[in-house]
């Protein structure tokens, strides 16, 4: 039994740029033309590229705040529970709920939880670790971690049209426009 031959599904069309200017201008044009399912790839953080494709807010700071508050609360409550409820020790008649001596561990736990939440939250929102991503099918994509800038308009975008989108990307400063299989 043989499978009927089908062309591999298309992930999107990828334009390659040599300068950050070319990439950001193309991103803005694509966003203005109504494309939404797209992503830019750069060798270093380029905030304007994220803004240009319409990605302006991240939830990492909020998550970190929540993590920090939870850490601080759990640190304080743990000490309170241990010293007042679970294992009260009378040391020279001093109060059991001696809050000044609880501050340091509360602080350390705040930092610890917030830091771990920031990193785990960032990785989770980014979907990392991710063993496979179709963009790596692009023959020169290794340059994205070196000196090249890429813009990918994905086939899943409602406005995507193989011919129109290719023409659109060819009209930018791109030095190369290629199809990438899924």
């Amino acid at each position: 039994m043989t499978e009927p031959f089908t062309a591999p599904a298309l992930h999107g069309i990828v334009a390659e740029f040599t300068t950050p200017d070319g990439l950001v201008v193309a991103c803005r044009k694509a966003h203005a033309a109504g494309y939404r399912r797209m992503d830019a790839y750069t060798p270093y953080p380029l905030e304007e590229a994220a803004d240009a494709i319409g990605f302006e807010k991240t939830r990492v700071p909020l998550l970190t705040l929540v993590g920090g508050i939870l850490g601080g609360l759990s640190g304080y409550l743990l000490q309170y529970w241990v010293h007042v409820l679970a294992y009260p020790l009378n040391v020279g008649g001093r109060p059991l709920h001696s809050w000044p001596s609880f501050i340091i561990i509360t602080f350390e736990m705040t930092i610890l939880f917030a830091g771990i939440t920031a990193v785990v939250g960032m990785l989770t929102l980014n979907g990392l670790p991710q063993p496979y991503h179709p963009i790596f099918n692009h023959p020169r994509f290794s340059a994205a971690s070196r000196d090249r800038f890429f813009l990918c308009i994905e086939a899943a975008d409602p406005k995507f049209d193989l011919y129109e989108t290719t023409l659109f990307l060819q009209a930018t400063d791109a030095i190369d426009v290629a199809e990438v299989a899924d």
């Binding site: 830019a40 060798p43 990605f55 930092i111 920031a118 971690s145």
Partner: protein, 470 residues
């Protein structure tokens, strides 16, 4: 394919005009920066010099393993500690190593928040230095407990004995502070590495190396959305690490200051300990950076400007430390407390006086040469000054720990402290652990942050008309 960037020797103009000395020597592009840093790990053959250095420090590391094995077999009695000096080298070394770690966090977090872009080329190996220094530090309190296999009793966990740790004790604060510090430093270091590991994955030709770097890079692809969250998380980590690093040595100083021993019970301890930590940490940064930039030809990325700036930080923090010493003397005099006064006289003239006067010489007097610009711009002299400061800062902790403990309130309980060969063996062994880890690090990981160096390039920025879009 690989154009090697010409190795820039510090030119005469660079020597004469240090203020014009750039953070990154002009002429680099995105490609050359990547190639240069990647080639140190992936293309450069293992040299005899590297092997020799690594073998030496690896030998020291084995000495540590031997000394530790004997320690576990016989107990802490093989060290010079006894009553009244129960802390000895173990705590001296602990404080010294934790302090060294502080410069790494200061460079990576505080200088990031202050937008000091020159830090970009030294933060990665300074962070690695922090990690290894904290690893060395953490070992001492652990083995000093005498029964390190029960050290987990320090952590609060439900147990069949029905007891809980005493959270009001500074020693427990220390457990939390140092373990949090180690965790956050490791996270900060690893998060910083992810994009560079992706570069390694994409550049490596050896399939084993490619697989390992690929696994560590976790599929990083440089997406704009990822970068945005990444930058946000990185900045938050820096913001969290900044108060953390100040708190860690504060807590370490509480181990002393919360007690009532003469010479320990002072409020100047936290700021003076933090300044001392940064002082010794920057000295260690220079002790590592000066040979690295020479042997790996990265003088164009770690320029004289970096050395100059680090020397100035040392000068500043050194003066804070000097102020701390002056205040200790003033407290002893002004307190009117006979024990405090005696403690100080004993430091100046007692049987341990040599350590105090060496401390003043190494930590206060000799480092004043850093006022001279020629010294700050001369790597060899800076290297020697840094070694002197490192030794001086070790002596400072020795003076604090030993002179206060060996003669406290009652003359009948006085004693002397003499370190044994096992004390020295363990200390030398941690130096071995630290430096062998550094040797491996420079050969296995990008020791300069590639993506942050790219951001220093003028062509990495958007042109004005594109940037002024909004």
């Amino acid at each position: 394919m690989m154009e090697q960037v010409p190795e820039t020797k510090a030119s005469t103009t660079e020597r004469l005009l240090p203020r014009q000395s750039p953070v990154l020597t002009p002429g680099h592009t995105l490609e050359t920066i990547t190639d240069k840093i990647v080639s140190i790990v992936l293309r450069r053959p293992v040299t005899l010099g590297w092997l020799g250095g690594f073998a030496f420090f690896f030998g020291l590391l084995n000495l540590m393993l031997f000394a530790m094995a004997y320690l576990f077999f016989r107990g802490v009695g093989i060290w010079g500690i006894n009553i009244p000096v129960g802390w000895g080298f173990a705590i001296v070394n602990f404080v010294w190593w934790v302090g060294i770690g502080h410069a790494g966090t200061l460079i990576s977090a505080i200088l990031l928040l202050l937008k000091q872009r020159w830090r970009n080329s030294i933060n990665r190996f300074a962070e690695a230095m922090t990690l290894f220094a904290v690893a060395c530090a953490g070992m001492f309190p652990l083995v000093h407990t005498g029964r390190p296999w029960l050290a987990y009793w320090l952590f609060p966990y439900p147990n069949t004995m029905g007891v809980w740790p005493q959270f009001r004790s500074p020693l427990l604060w220390d457990v939390f502070a140092v373990s949090t510090y180690a965790t956050i430093s490791a996270l900060f270091w690893f998060v910083g590495l992810i994009p560079d590991l992706a570069t390694f994955r994409d550049t490596a030709t050896n399939p084993v190396a490619k697989t390992i770097y690929g696994l560590l890079a976790m599929g990083w692809r440089g997406s704009a959305r990822h970068w945005k969250r990444y930058e946000s998380a990185y900045l938050l980590l820096a913001g969290l690490a900044t108060p953390l690093v100040l708190s860690v040595h504060t807590v370490v100083s509480f181990d002393f200051a919360i007690s009532i021993l003469p010479g320990w019970h002072t409020t100047v301890f936290p700021p003076y300990f933090v300044a001392g930590a940064i002082y010794s940490g920057f000295a260690m940064v220079l002790v590592l950076a000066i040979p690295i930039r020479r042997f790996y030809g990265v003088q164009d990325m770690m320029t004289l400007r970096h050395l100059d700036n680090a020397a100035k930080v040392m000068l500043g923090t050194g003066l804070i430390v000097a102020y701390g010493y002056a205040m200790e003397a003033f407290y002893a005099y002004y307190s009117g407390n006979a024990y405090e006064l005696f403690m100080f006289k004993n430091r100046l003239l007692g049987p341990m006086a040599w350590s105090y006067w060496c401390l003043i010489l190494f930590n206060i007097l000799i480092p004043q040469v850093l006022w001279i610009r020629k010294v700050r711009l001369n790597p060899a002299m800076l290297f020697c000054t840094s070694l002197v400061i490192l030794f001086g800062m070790w002596l400072e902790r020795f003076v604090i720990v030993v002179t206060s403990l060996h003669r406290d309130f009652l003359p009948s309980s006085w004693g002397m402290y003499v370190a044994t060969r096992w004390d020295y063996a363990v200390f030398a062994g941690t130096l071995g652990l630290f430096f062998s880890a550094m040797f491996l690090f420079v050969r296995l990981m990008p020791m300069i942050t590639i993506f942050e160096m790219r951001m220093l390039l003028p062509q990495a920025k958007l042109s004005e008309e594109v940037a002024a879009h909004d």
